[in-house]
Subunit: 447 residues, 2 copies
Amino acid sequence: MAIKRKTSLLKAVNTLTKTTDASDSPVKIALLGFGTVGSSVARVIAESKLPGIELTHIFNRNVERKRASAAAKCVPASVVWTENFDEILNSGAEIVVELMGGLDPAEDWLKKCFAAGKSVVTANKQLIAYRGAALSRLAAKHGVQLVHGAAVAGGVPVIPGILQGLGGDQITRISGIVNGTCNYILSRMETGAEYAAVLADAQRLGYAEANPSADVDGFDARAKLCILSRIALHAELDPDAVATQTISTVEAVDFAYAKELGCTIRQVSRAQMDAKSRLVHARVAPMLVPLTSPLAWSHGTQNMVVTSGKFGGDVVFSGHGAGGEPTAVAVVADILAVAQHSVAVELPVRRREVTGEFMAPHYLRFVVDDKPGIVSGIAGTLAKVGANIDSLLQRPGYPKHKLPFVITTEPCLTSTIEKAVAAMAKMDCMLERPLCLQILTLDDKAE
Amino acid sequence: MAIKRKTSLLKAVNTLTKTTDASDSPVKIALLGFGTVGSSVARVIAESKLPGIELTHIFNRNVERKRASAAAKCVPASVVWTENFDEILNSGAEIVVELMGGLDPAEDWLKKCFAAGKSVVTANKQLIAYRGAALSRLAAKHGVQLVHGAAVAGGVPVIPGILQGLGGDQITRISGIVNGTCNYILSRMETGAEYAAVLADAQRLGYAEANPSADVDGFDARAKLCILSRIALHAELDPDAVATQTISTVEAVDFAYAKELGCTIRQVSRAQMDAKSRLVHARVAPMLVPLTSPLAWSHGTQNMVVTSGKFGGDVVFSGHGAGGEPTAVAVVADILAVAQHSVAVELPVRRREVTGEFMAPHYLRFVVDDKPGIVSGIAGTLAKVGANIDSLLQRPGYPKHKLPFVITTEPCLTSTIEKAVAAMAKMDCMLERPLCLQILTLDDKAE
C-alpha cells in the first residue's frame, strides 16, 4: 500500500503541475535565432493563442535589424531582444528554443542552458545526430528536458508519433524520404527533366543551397536517419559510418527504365536492426521504389517516414518536412509538451555498429559505346561474383555510340554488386561508371 | 522569482515521478476484457518487456474459459483472473484498460474507476464519441486520466500525433478513411467486383459482421469522426447529428465511371470548421476521391487520416486501423503515457453544431430505361435548382433498357443537389434512385 499511496500523491502533484502551468503563470520562452523558423515560431505562438506559454526573449546577432523586420511585427512589445547570450542564460526563461543550427556554439550553449535549469527545444538535426544521446543524458542529469521533434521531417509529427504512439511496439525497420530538396529534384525528373536543370530550378526557388552537397550527397538525410534510428530502433549510430550515395548521377533515362520496372526513383533513407547480430543496416541513397509503395507517393518537397513494427505493422507519416511554418508547428508542439510536462519518455538507447550491407535486387544502368560482346562481358562479371541477372532492358531510340541500357539482378549483397560494378567500370566500352541502385521490394509496401 | 522557484520545484518533482515510476515500483494494470485486443495487449506487454508497468488483473465474463485459452499462455502466473468487476475496483491497479466496448456497463464502470482514483485507457469508440467530453471532465475532477488513442485508427498514432505533434497548429479540416471494412469492400470493388460478393468475402474473412450496418452505413466511422473532431478541431459534436450515407448502393459500374474521371471511390469521413459561423461541416459517405489524393492510396483494411493545419499544411497518417495487435500497440502506448505521466494536455473543447452541407462538385449515376428526353429532363431539373452540369459520361456496352450513365456537376451545395435528386428519382424512366456522391477536389490533396 505504500507504493499505492506514493503514486497517488505524485499523481496529484503532477496533475497540479499541469493545471498550474496551463492556467496560472505562463512558462517563459526564449528564442535563439529569429530567421525563417524563429519568426514563424513567434507568429504561431502569437496567432494560436496557446494557453500557458509566453515568449519573453529573442536572441539574434545584429538583433536590431531583425527587430525592425516585418517578421517582428507579431512579437509582443514586452519581449526583450538581445544579441548577448548571457542575457538569455540569466533570464527567467524556462524553455530555450535553439534555432541557430550547427554544432558550434549551439552545443556549448545548450550545456549552459541545462546547467542553468532550462529545458531546450531544438530543430538542430546535426547537433542531435552527432551529440543527441550525450546531450539527453546531460539534460536528464540536470532534471531538465531536451526535445527535438522538429529535427526530422519538420511539420510531420514523426518523432512524437513514434515516441508517444508506437512506444509499445518493437520497430524493426524505418524507411523514409526526409530530404525535401532531393525529393523535389527526383519527383521533377520523373516527368523527363534532367538533373542539372531541375537543380538549377531548385536553387532559384530556394529549395537548394548554392553548394547543394549536403542535400544531394545524402549528408542531411543521414543525420535525420540517425535521429530516427535512436527514436525508433533505440540504436545510437555514428552518422559518419552511414553509407551515402549521391543522387547527382541519376539521369532522366533512369526514370524511363524505372517506369518499365513499375518503379520510380527516390532518395531513400533506410535503417533496420538485425535481430541476431544487433548490427544496424543503414543507407541513404537513390533507390528504385515500386509505384505501389507509399514511398512513391511523395512529390515535391514532401517528407515521408514508414515505420515497420512487430505488432503494428507499417505506419506511414507524411507531410511538409521543411519550411518556416511547418517546422514551427513542430517546435511549438515541443514547447507545449515541455510546458505541460508531457514529453514522452525515451526508452534506453544503445550504441550500435552500422553496416551498409543489404540483400536486395539491384538496378545497373550502363552507358556504352555499343559493340559485340558487351552483354556477355557484363554477364561474365556478374557470374563471377555470384549475382544472377533478372532482366535486361534496352529502350529504342538512343545512338549506338552512347547507348544506355539496364540490367537488373536478383537479390544479392551490396558488397557483392559493388565488387562487380568496380570491375565493370574498367571495361573499355563503358563511357561512364555504371549506375547501381538498390531496388526496394514489396516488403517495403505499407499493406 | 517566486514563480520561477515554484516551477523548478514542480519540475523536479515531476522528473522524480517519471524516474520513480519507470524504475522502482511498476505501475499496476488491470484489463477489462480478454478478447482479441485484450489478449494482444497482454502479449505486447509480455514480449516488449516494457519497463515500469505490470499486468496484475484480468476481468472477463466466463473467465475460466479465457484463462484456459491458448491466448492466455503469455499471461504471467501472478495475474489475478476474475469475473467480478468489484475485485478490479478494489485492487491495487492504477490503470484500468477497458476493452469491452459499448456504452453499458462501460460508462458506469469507468466512472467507478475514476472515483477509485484509477486512470482509464480505452479503445471504446462509441463510448468516447458519445460521452468522451463529459467523462474527460469527470476524470480531471478526480485527478486521474482518460486516454483513448486506440479508439480511432487502431495502430496508427493519429490521436497522439495530433495532440503531441500538431498541438501548436490550428487544424481546420480532417478527412479520413477510418473504417477498414468499408475500405476493404471499396478497394476490392475497384477491380470490378460487385458489392454483394465482396461483402460476403469480407464476412467470411471476419472483416465484416453478420449485420454489416454499423460499418457500411457509416455509424462506426461517424463515431470516430466525432472523436477526431474533438481532438483536432476542439469541437464536441453530437454523433447522431452527423450525416451518413451507405456504401451499399455503390456498384461496380461506379468505379468504371470514377476511373474515367481520374478518381476512385472511398468511404470518406470529413469534418471542417467554418471560420466565421463556427459550424462544423461533417459527413461520412462514399465519395469520389482523385487518384492523386492520399485518400486514394489506402487499400484493404488500411486506415488513413489527413489533417489540414493553418501553419503546417496537410499531414497524412496511415497504417493498420484494426486487428488485435495494431490496436494493442495503441493501447500499450496509452498505458505507457499514463504510467509515465506524459499524456498530452487536450485544449479546451466546445460544443459545436453540425451541418451536412458542403460546397462540392457531385457525381450522379442514373440507371434508366432509355428513351428520348431523359437527358433534357435531368438537365431541366438541375437547372431548376441552379446546379450546372460539368460532364456527361456514357460507357458503351450496356443494354438500353437498363442503362447506367453519369452526370457530374460543378460545385453546388449538398442540399441543392439532394433536392434535385429527390425530383429526378420520381422520373418515370428511373429504374432506381439516382446515386449521388460528393467529388473531393484537389484541395484535399496533401501537397
